[in-house]
Amino acid sequence: MIMNLTLLVCLLLVAIWTVMTTRLIHAVIGLAITSVTLAIIMNHLNSPLAAVFELSVCAGLIPVIFITTVSFTQRISKKQLRVREKERFIKFWYLPVIIVVAGLLLALFTHAPQITVPPAGAEENVRNVLWNLRHIDLLGQVIVLLAGAFGVVVFFKESGK
């Protein structure tokens, strides 16, 4: 439990740093660290396959996409950066205060809400579930991937004019 709580606190702190940092590259690195922390939590919660997916895709591929986007778009001088740092501090110093207040308010409710949890069923094999029980999901994933590829092609198509 203490390990889980430590990991959750790390997750939240890294997420807050990701949001508050001025440079976009730092924010992207923070997002990757958030993903790594979440993957460790997933592994603790008996979900190793999802943790591997989270680690490889969310901590590996998505930062690459973000860094590519940032490197193509961000053109900012050091002077502008300093001005933005000041603006950002004024705009974002509320966030830690809001998080602390909301956390304290939620922690005051020491009684957990009464939700009826169904009894734990027999554990199934994840491959069996993925390929047999949820095979329509895989079809949907393929369609979404194709739609995404089509969308990217449309966006980067050179107009013939």
Binding site: I41, V57, A147, F156
Partner: protein, 106 residues
């Protein structure tokens, strides 16, 4: 056991709510499309955490993992297409501030 699970749900739930607040704040307070995407990512992470926790508590981690894998695939497609939208907007407007996207129709 059930009481222990409820406590676990409550602790993780508090952190998921705080992550949601962080993501929403990022989306609402920044005028940069990349930062909005980062906020969306944090929201998705909170949802992922809750799905995995639900699977753990109910004892159906296999089902939760299958759903999370679907979620991650959709997430990556959304991020790639959104990255394309941002680059497209930058090429046409020379900015990624949504307030300056003035040449959009509609």
């Amino acid at each position: 056991m059930i009481q222990e699970n409820m406590q676990l749900l409550w602790y993780f739930g508090i952190f998921a709510i705080l992550l949601f607040i962080t993501g929403f704040y990022c989306i609402l307070a920044s005028f940069n499309m990349v930062r909005a995407l980062i906020g969306l990512e944090i929201l998705i992470k909170a949802a992922t955490l809750l799905i995995i926790l639900a699977g753990y508590i109910v004892g159906k981690t296999a089902l939760a993992q299958a759903i999370v894998i679907t979620l991650i695939v959709i997430e990556i497609v959304v991020m790639v297409v959104a990255g394309g939208v941002i680059l497209w907007a930058f090429r046409h407007n020379d900015t990624i501030d949504p307030r300056n996207l003035s040449n959009m129709k509609g």
